[in-house]
């Protein structure tokens, strides 16, 4: 495995399996009263967040702390970054402070790769979302969630049909999930109005549909994406009502889904826009599970990338 995670493309198929298996193992071990493992004791993980994202930051922070790493949260707001400090200077500061891993969230696509490739820092770089490019740990937690929903498949998703619905154009979650889920064998269909699909998407290894209703009974997984309300000002769709009607997950659509199918959402949700409250809270919804799975998936990533002491050893 590479010592950084910038894109799902950094992971081989066996790397993915290793992360998913490690996540399962870590979940088992930390499900009891003592949630903490000493495997990364003495290591420093920096959460470098140039964009607000409370849930992703807390998830990484929890994951690192459960592995006994020291965690520093460096948020752009109120720091020197907001005073115009460059990514380079920030990176070199973290390097000087001895960071072992930098978890970076940035509004600019490619910022994580830039940080990793620039030579400014020798720490392991983990992409926690870069612009509209990728969010690889989100895809890993989603795959882990699907894996748990379909335990018989043992991480082989061939034949599993996944619909990703919504703003594909601006979604880093969609890009990472397309790469990861297809790597695991799933058949992915992107469903969106044409305005919210990138030009060039026809080259992706996916099916494209503009019609949410056409095949809804065939999907095993329906993953809804958040709609940013500011998209309306750029004419991506006429208004919320129309979007919700055509691409929202409501009761009618929920009722047409397969009995075994699950509903996912990376959060935060716009209840009533891309997903109705009843769909979000239904028995098919694994949205809350995704949050918990996020912690163990990120533990697995930190553990494997930072080469923590073997789990069996630290347990004894």
């Amino acid at each position: 495995m590479k010592n950084q995670l910038l894109s799902i493309n950094d992971l081989s198929h066996s790397d993915v399996l290793s992360i998913l298996n490690t996540a399962a193992e870590l979940e088992k071990i930390t499900s009891g009263a003592n949630k903490k493992l000493p495997t990364l004791r003495g290591r420093t993980v920096v959460n470098l967040f140039f964009e607000d994202s409370t849930r992703t930051r807390i998830s990484f922070e929890t994951a690192a702390k459960r592995l006994s790493a020291d965690v520093i949260n460096f948020s752009a707001k109120g720091s020197s970054v907001s005073k115009g400090e460059s990514l380079k200077d920030t990176a070199q500061t973290l390097q000087a402070m001895g960071a072992d891993a930098v978890v970076i969230r940035h509004g600019s696509s490619g910022a994580a790769q830039r940080l990793a490739d620039s030579g400014w820092i020798s720490a392991t770089v983990i992409n926690a979302g870069d612009g509209t490019h990728e969010h690889p740990t989100q895809a890993l937690l989603d795959a882990f969630t699907i894996s748990k929903a379909f335990p018989d498949r043992k991480n082989d998703f061939s034949g599993v049909r996944v619909a990703i619905v919504g703003d594909i154009l601006h979604s880093r979650v969609a890009r990472s999930n397309v790469l990861l889920l297809t790597k695991l064998g799933a058949k992915v269909t992107l469903i969106a109005p044409p305005t919210l699909l990138p030009v060039g998407v026809e080259q992706w290894p996916v099916d494209i549909s503009y019609d949410f209703d056409a095949e809804i009974e065939n999907f095993d997984v329906v993953m809804m994406l958040r709609i940013q309300l500011e998209r309306m000002s750029n004419f991506f769709f006429p208004n919320e009502r129309e979007y919700s009607r055509r691409y929202g997950l409501n009761e009618t659509r929920l009722s047409r889904m397969k009995k075994s199918a699950i509903v996912m959402h990376p959060g935060p949700m716009n209840r009533g826009l891309e997903i109705s409250a009843s769909s979000a809270d239904s028995s098919r919804s694994v949205i809350v599970d995704q949050v918990g799975n996020g912690v163990v998936a990120r533990m697995a990533v930190l553990y494997l990338l930072l080469g923590g002491a073997p789990i069996s050893e630290v347990l004894s």
């Binding site: 460059s86 990514l87 380079k88 940035h106 509004g107 600019s108 696509s109 490619g110 910022a111 790769q113 830039r114 490739d117 620039s118 870069d130 612009g131 509209t132 490019h133 990728e134 880093r172 890009r175 990138p198 030009v199 060039g200 998407v201 080259q203 992706w204």
Partner: protein, 429 residues
Amino acid sequence: MTYTLTNVTLPSGEVSNIVIDGNQILSVGTQSQGDSIDCTGLIALPGLVDLHTHLREPGKEDSETVLSGSQAAAKGGFTAISAMANTSPVADTAGVVEQVFRLGKEAGLCEVFPIGAVTVGLAGERLSELGAMADSAAQVRVFSDDGKCVSDPLVMRRALEYVKSFGGVIAQHAQDPRLTENAQMNEGEVSSRLGLAGWPAVAEEAIIARDILLADHVKSRLHICHLTTKGGVELVRWAKAQGISVTAEVTPHHLLLTDELVESYDPIYKVNPPLRTQDDVDALRAGLADGTIDIVATDHAPHPTEDKECEWSAAAFGMLGLETALSIVVKTMVETKKFTWTDVARVLSSNPAKIGGYVRQGQELVAGSPANITVINPTLEWSVNREELSSKSRNTPFHGYTLPAKVIHTIFEGVIVVKDGELTGKKHD
């Protein structure tokens, strides 16, 4: 001073002596006079002419000055360059263009022709005092808001019409602003993967199409800056077939590089207009070969290190070009057998001189012509090292490339400003 370039190969392939006396070519033939400079195996081209550079002075002298830009130009074999108007203050008055013109004279390494802004402050709203700039000491004939598009069709129409009174030309930066809001790279398969906002070809082509029709309607001269798309080439080809007075340029980097380089997210490849696809590159080369595209112009765009040493979206658009242009043209056009040396002289010297109205430039190397000559070694390969460039900036995408053809001597108005590839310290007074 009188001296002779001996045994030099002319673009036609003929081997001759060129005798230079003062600022003129005295003879081309077998005679020799004064000191000899042995040019066996070297090719003499009329001094190269660049219709599109950014010299950053006044305002951004940390990136480039008229002097450092002239030095880079001389090293690159240019005896004339044009300075775009997007300085600070903008070159939209006679005062600013005269300042740039004077700085060029003082540098004395090549002719520096200021380009005047079409609109005040490049804002696209009101015409600059185009006539005052034309009548100034700088004698401006090329006008451009380059960096920004003259997007308002009425403003563009009026500008095209107005400059007819003094034989001017509008050089358009074809970029529909609404279709490229926040755009970062060519829109296509690569941008879809990288999650960078797309810059569609249509944003360039729509403006080219509109302006071709406007130029036809008002019977004025239009020049299209840095063409980058296959569709744009086809539009210009169509316009020329109709007899519309349009000329077009392509940059060296668009002849060689493609948008796949952006996969590195290294902003050294961030440029406006963006790098396109291999299909576009092929169309640009074909268009240059068949004369649809008239010239190669560098769009030399220096930027300080900190403006490139950052994340992609925060970085500045632009690449250096003056010191590598000839080599890239040789690599993409001569080595691929699309071009003879006469063609090289055409697109890098005589055509740009004609478009700009640069009367002492781009002339055939014959007795009586001004002594603006570039002598190159066509077979010498060299390695681009950004630390060795004469430009004040380092943002070349060709660092580490091994390129064919090296500029050996640059002769500006008879003065040898570059000899054996190095600045001599001499200048034309």
